[in-house]
Amino acid sequence: MRPLRTPPVRRLAASVLAAAALLLASAAPPAPGVDDALIAGDTLPQRLSEFRFFIDGRPNRRVVRYQLNTPLFSDYADKDRFIYVPAGSRARYGADGAIDFPVGSALIKSFSYPADARQPDGPRRTVETRVLLRRASGWVALPYLWSGDDAVLRRGGARLEIGWTDKAGRARTVSYGVPNANQCKECHQSAGALVPIGPKARNLDDGHQLGALAAAGLVDRAPPGLAAMPRADDPAAPLAARARAYLDINCAHCHSRAGMASNSGLYLGFDEPDPVARGRLKRPVAAGRGSAGLAFDIQPGAPDQSILLHRMASTEPGIAMPELGRTLTHDEGVALIRAYIAQMK
C-alpha cells in the first residue's frame, strides 16, 4: 500500500518486472484503476487506500511521478510527488505556464524520512501523504497520516517526534507538524481559491519532464517560450536567479498580491518587478518581534541586517518564516539567501 520511495535504478527494474508480469498475466483481468468517482465526488475518504493511487506500493495507471526544479523545504523530509489525470482528459497550460487540471485529477505527495540519509534506499518512515483533489467545486486538500499499512484522514493536524541520521551522519530530531486541512488552504490559496503550488511549467521544466508528462497523456504539450526557473541548488545557474527561484517556491505562495501575506506588501514571486516589493530597503509592517530590531526586509550587501534572512534562520514561532511547515532551519536555503543579499549593491 505504502508509496515506497523508489530510486531511478530500482524504478527501471521494477518497470521491467512489471512489464514481464503483465505479459505473463495477460489473460487475467486488469487491476482496477484509480477510483475516479471518489476523487470527483463530495465525500471525505477516511483511508488513502480507497483512492487506489498505489497498488502494492507502486503507482497505479496514470499516476505519474514528477519532480520540481526547486522544492519547498519541509523540515528535511523527502517528498515523493505524483500527478493523476483521469483517462480521456489531460491538463492544459494557461497563459502564464500555470497548469489547469481537469476535474477528477489529483496531486499526491508523500513525506518521509530515511532512518539514515546516507542510505536513502534503507529503512524509511513515511509520515503523511497529502492529496489535492480537483473537484467540480475546486481543489480540496486532505492530509492523511500513515499508521501501519494505510494512511488515515487527519484533518485536525498533528505533531510527531521523528528522528533520523542526516547526510553528515548527525542524529537529528524534528517535532514534525502535520498541517491541519485549513493550514493546507492557507498556503494553497490565491485570491480566495485553493490552487496547487509546485507544478507550474517553469518549475517542472528540467529539459525532458514536460515532454514525458505529455507523452504519458497527462498534460498537453508545453507551449513554446516558457522560461524555466533554475534549480536553487545548481551552482552553474546565476546566484540571483537561484535565490529568486528559492524565494518563489518557499515564500511566494503567501507573499504575493493574491496570497495570505498580501497585506505585508512583500512579494517574492520569481517575476516580481518592483524591487521594494521584493524586500529591498522595504520596512516591515506587521513583523513584530520578527524584525529583530532591523529596519529593512533586505539591506543590500548586509545579510545580517536583513529581516528576511533573520526570519528564515529562526525556528521560533512568531519569528520563523514560513510560518507553517517548518520547525528546522534550512541551512542550504539560508546560505543561498545570505549569498544573494551579500552580493546586492
Binding site: R154, R155, G156, G157, A158, R159, S175, G177, N180, A181, N182, Q183, K185, E186, Q189, G192, R257, M260, S262, N263, G265, V276, A277, L281, K282, R283, P284, V285, A286, A287, G288, R289, G290, S291, A292, G293, L294, A295, F296, I307, E316, P317, G318, I319, E323, L324, T327
Partner: protein
C-alpha cells in the same frame, strides 16, 4: 443558544439545513478536537468552548462563513498557547460573518487573533493577553483584523502586545468600542484604513494610547476618515518595548493620541491625562520612502472638545527634554510638527508647533512656538460608521 443560530440559518441558507451547536471541552488532544470542530462547522453553526483551559500546541484556524465561536466567558474559557510550536498567530479567521465571543487567548508566540479578508467579523467580550506583562518577546498584535470590510471590535481587553493591542490594518468600515487596551506598545491602532469610529474605549498604561497611521508600500494606502471620540486615554507610561524596525518602536513613551500621515481624522470629546510626552501628537511620516502613491502628510485633522489633564512632563523623544525646558518645563498637551494641510486644534489648551517645513526634517530644524490655527468652519467631520444590518444584533 441554538435558537438564534437556527433563525440565522433560515434567514441565510437556501437549503433547509439546521444550524448545529458543536461543543468542544478542554482536555487531552484539545488541539485536534477543536481544530476539527472548526473545520467541520457548517455555515450557521456555533462552536462552543467549554469552561477551562485549552492547552494548544499550534495555531487554530476557521475558514467557514457564518460560524460563531463562543466560550463561557473571557475569564472562564482560556485558549492557552504557552506550548505553541508553530503558526504565526493563535487563531486565524479567513471567512466572512464570523462572531468570536466570550473567551480568552493567552500567550501566543506571534499575534493573538488575526482575521484576514474576513468581512463583517465581530470580536466581542474577548481577552487577549500575554500573561508575563509587557515584554519584547510577546506577540505583535492582540486583535488583528486586516484587509477586511465591516469590522466590529466590542468589549475586548488586550494586554501586553509588543506592537498594538487592537490593530486594524488596510480595512474599511470599522468600529472599535467599549474596549480596554493596556500595557501594550500601542493601545489601539488604525492603520492604512478608511472610515473608522474609535469610541468609548480605555487606552491606559500603553506606550501610546491610540494611533492613526498610514504607511507606504502597502496594497492599501491613503488612510482617511477616522473619528476618535469619547475615549479615556490616560497614563500611557509603559516604556516602549517594541522591537526596533517596527513603526511603533518610534512612538515616544507617554503619547496619548498620535495621528500620522492620515486625512480627515477628528479627535474630540476624549479625556486625556497622564501622558508624559504629550496628549495629542500630530505628525507626517518621517522616513524616506519610494512609493509614488503615498502622501506622508496629515490633512484635514481636527482636535476639539477634549478634556486635558497633566501632560508633557516627561517627553521621551530625542531633544524632547531640551524642548520642554525651553517651554518652561513641560511640553503643551498638543504637539504638531507644523506640516500638513488644514490642521486645526480647538481645545482650550496650548498647542505647540515645531514649524517644520517637511516631516523628515531633523528636530534641530524645529522652530518651536505656540501654534495658531485658523478660525472659521472646521474641515468636515467624517460621517458616522454604519455597519451592515444584523452585525451588532448578533451580540445583543
Amino acid at each position: 443558544m441554538a435558537a438564534p443560530a437556527a433563525i440565522l440559518s433560515c434567514a441565510f441558507l437556501s437549503a433547509p439545513v439546521a444550524a448545529r451547536v458543536i461543543a468542544v471541552a478542554p482536555g487531552p488532544d484539545a488541539q485536534a478536537r477543536l481544530q476539527e470542530a472548526l473545520i467541520d462547522a457548517r455555515p450557521g453553526d456555533t462552536v462552543t468552548l467549554g469552561a477551562g483551559r485549552f492547552e494548544l500546541t499550534d495555531g487554530l484556524s476557521l475558514d467557514v462563513d457564518r460560524v460563531e465561536l463562543r466560550g463561557a466567558g473571557p475569564d472562564r474559557t482560556v485558549l492557552s498557547f504557552k506550548g505553541q510550536q508553530g503558526a504565526g498567530e493563535g487563531l486565524l479567521v479567513t471567512s466572512d460573518d464570523v462572531v468570536l465571543r466570550d473567551f480568552a487567548v493567552e500567550d501566543t508566540r506571534g499575534d493573538g487573533i488575526k482575521s484576514k479578508g474576513a468581512d463583517r467579523i465581530v470580536y466581542h467580550n474577548l481577552r487577549v493577553e500575554w500573561t508575563g506583562g509587557p515584554k519584547a518577546t510577546n506577540g505583535a498584535y492582540g486583535v488583528y483584523p486586516v484587509s477586511s470590510s465591516d469590522i466590529l471590535v466590542d468589549k475586548v481587553v488586550v494586554r501586553g502586545a509588543s506592537d498594538a493591542g487592537i490593530y486594524v490594518g488596510q480595512s474599511r468600515n470599522i468600529v472599535v468600542r467599549g474596549s480596554i487596551a493596556e500595557y501594550n506598545v500601542a493601545g489601539i491602532e488604525i492603520e492604512n484604513s478608511y472610515n473608522a469610529d474609535v469610541h468609548g474605549n480605555v487606552a491606559r498604561h500603553n506606550t501610546g494610547g491610540i494611533l492613526v497611521f498610514d504607511l507606504p508600500n502597502l496594497p492599501q494606502t491613503g488612510g482617511h476618515s477616522v473619528r476618535v471620540f469619547a475615549n479615556q486615554i490616560t497614563d500611557n507610561d509603559t516604556p516602549n518595548f517594541a522591537p526596533a524596525g517596527n513603526i511603533v518602536a518610534s512612538v515616544p513613551t507617554g503619547t496619548g493620541v498620535m495621528v500620522m500621515a492620515n486625512a480627515r481624522v477628528h479627535v474630540f470629546g476624549n479625556t486625556l491625562a497622564g501622558n508624559g510626552t504629550t496628549n495629542v501628537l500630530l505628525v507626517g511620516y518621517r522616513e524616506a520612502f519610494d512609493d509614488k502613491a503615498y502622501n506622508p502628510l496629515i490633512r484635514e485633522v481636527v482636535v476639539r472638545d477634549n478634556v486635558h489633564g497633566r501632560a508633557g512632563y516627561a517627553p521621551a523623544f530625542p531633544g524632547g527634554a531640551e524642548l520642554a525646558a525651553a517651554m518652561g518645563g513641560t511640553l503643551p498637551p498638543i504637539v504638531w510638527d507644523g506640516t500638513g494641510e488644514r490642521v486645526v486644534a480647538r481645545d482650550k489648551v496650548t498647542a505647540l508647533t515645531l514649524a517644520l517645513s517637511d516631516p523628515r526634517q531633523p528636530l534641530t530644524a524645529a522652530r518651536p512656538a505656540p501654534a495658531r490655527f485658523p478660525d472659521g468652519a472646521l474641515p468636515g467631520e467624517p460621517a458616522p460608521v454604519v455597519l451592515p444590518a444584523g452585525m451588532a444584533e448578533r451580540i445583543r
